[in-house]
Subunit: 209 residues, 2 copies
Amino acid sequence: MINRDVSPAVVARLSRYYRFLRALKEKGVERVSSAELASMMDLTASQIRQDLNCFGGFGQQGYGYNVEYLFGELRRLLGAEEGYTAVIVGAGNLGAALAHAQTFSRRGVTVTAMFDISPKLIGTRIGDLDVYHDDDFAAFYKKRPFDIAVLCVPKDAAQECADRLSALGVPAFWNFTGIEITVPDGCVVENVHLGDSLLTLSYKLKKRT
Amino acid sequence: MINRDVSPAVVARLSRYYRFLRALKEKGVERVSSAELASMMDLTASQIRQDLNCFGGFGQQGYGYNVEYLFGELRRLLGAEEGYTAVIVGAGNLGAALAHAQTFSRRGVTVTAMFDISPKLIGTRIGDLDVYHDDDFAAFYKKRPFDIAVLCVPKDAAQECADRLSALGVPAFWNFTGIEITVPDGCVVENVHLGDSLLTLSYKLKKRT
């Protein structure tokens, strides 16, 4: 049923639909029309119908979308029901902030550990998470393999960390390091370049004045 | 010289060029061809030429781009030389992580203060930044107006914070709250929805298997 060539832009929008539908669900809303969703999301109703058609529709003419059903379908399609696990590599400020956030649990991802190289941090707990040394990657992965490595290490350690982890078989990297890492074929990466986002804001601000 | 209708996708790529050119500059590289840049950035040379043509080119046939010159032009075009100032609203884990990051200074933005409502945090310093109470927004803004409010508050406080700050005249919002805020005409917003990024990764991982 799933169109296998969905564009990255559509996938990004599907993640956004997920967020809006979850909010509707939490408010107890049972159904929503494409026009209502469009107005909330600042998209056109036809854009929404087109996006959701890629995934088989889920809507019924004259009724709109059943919120719970569509949310569940998106959850499934986007992989939030796969029970993915993650570790956070780099227990500095950003790593710790992510460890405390609900970002993971709200998308079905369980964080199982943190890693760092600082003697001050190894053996401590951040939130509910034990902090291990990077040298324990292999031993940990053997006992408790994980799907996603969240890279919060300094730029100059980023590629080496990615190399070591992908060599163990880690298939996915959520990369906050600000540099673009190279991974073997078959691995997937999603970059969060906060600096690019700040510059985009700065451009919008400059254009405005 | 600037094409005033540059698409958001191009602006995002320009921020990425900025990052790669800075890295080249730091390595002492003086010039780069569109083919070399394309290979580094996983784009096509013609895509790069097309993007940079929107901004008047900067390249010379047979020479390529002068790294320092192009970096300087992008810096100027993207607003990194405007001397923008920012405050971080919400001094929790994420706010503190941003306060310690070089993300701002590397893009010409100076962070001048933090705000929170927790009595434990008011009056403390995080990194070099004093933490003030949200009730001091107006008094602070009057004395030291700022360009960007970095919203790191809980979801349910996001819109109210944006309302109070935009009413004072704050023109730009870098929004980490995970909900989409509404701002008056003339204000600009850049959203960082980490959850959307994680779901996109989860989708890629699911598709891979």
